[in-house]
């Protein structure tokens, strides 16, 4: 079974530039999560999708971050314009369905450096 795919793995940009990250969850997984992991901290949920609907985006800085999950499969997270404090690893995760007792399946992450 293929895992969660993320790209790019690494991205370096100047502040005020834009960047987009892509995630393809495990086939059939209805729930998709984007987490931000700042160095030395635990993952923080940015946005959670159930199929193509948003379940929770309360911690997404909506003035600069946006995310979509068209057709309920893959997802894109965009940052525009980037700030220095956005330097982090952006983790995508998926799970088969809402609730249950199952664990999350994570991708390798996309490391963003903002200069």
């Amino acid at each position: 079974e293929a895992g969660v795919a993320q790209s790019p793995r690494y991205k370096i940009i100047e502040k005020r530039q834009s960047v987009a990250f892509w995630c393809n969850p495990i086939s059939g997984h209805a729930t998709l999560y984007w987490y931000q992991q700042i160095l030395g901290q635990g993952p923080k949920l940015l946005i959670q999708f159930q199929n193509n609907g948003v379940v929770d985006d309360s911690q997404l800085p909506k003035d600069r971050f946006s995310a979509e999950r068209l057709k309920g499969v893959d997802s894109t997270l965009k940052i525009q314009p980037a700030k220095l404090e956005d330097s982090a690893v952006y983790l995508c995760a998926s799970s088969p369905r809402q609730g249950g007792t199952g664990e999350l399946f994570f991708g390798e992450g996309s490391r963003l450096t903002v200069l």
Binding site: V4, Q6, Y33, G40, Q41, G42, P43, K44, L45, Q48, Q50, V55, D56, L91, A93, Q98, G99, T101, E103, L104, F105, F106, G107, E108, G109, R111
Partner: protein, 117 residues
């Protein structure tokens, strides 16, 4: 709201010795608790989970964890540490959004485990 705490930023242990990585939780009701491991430049990998039932949970790579309700703890353990166990370990709890009835996962701050040869 549910939360987890990992009181140690780093744990050092000699290879072959038993290891413990601590996690305490604050929940209402019966918790669902998880341990994940993160190797350098990699995503998080699931190790094990507790769902209400048996208090001793066995997981991947020889790890196990004990749920202790009286101490509100869910410590990760391994009888004999390997150098390859050196990584970042995260405890997590599943929380419910009352308004929508949906679930989210809240992670601790992580504990770096160093196993010394």
């Amino acid at each position: 709201a549910q939360s987890v705490a990992q009181p140690e930023d780093q744990v050092n242990v000699a290879e072959g010795n038993p290891l413990t990585v601590k996690c305490t939780y604050s929940v209402s009701g019966n918790p669902y608790l998880f341990w994940y491991v993160q190797y350098p430049n990699r995503g998080l990998q699931f190790l094990l989970k507790y769902i209400p039932g048996d208090n001793l949970v066995k997981g991947s790579y020889g790890f196990e964890a004990e749920f202790n309700k009286s101490q509100t703890s869910f410590h990760l353990k391994k009888p004999s540490a390997l150098v390859s166990d050196s990584a970042l370990y995260f405890c997590a709890v599943r929380d419910i959004r009352v308004a929508s009835g949906t679930y989210k996962y809240i992670f601790g701050t992580g504990t770096r485990l160093k196993v010394l040869a």
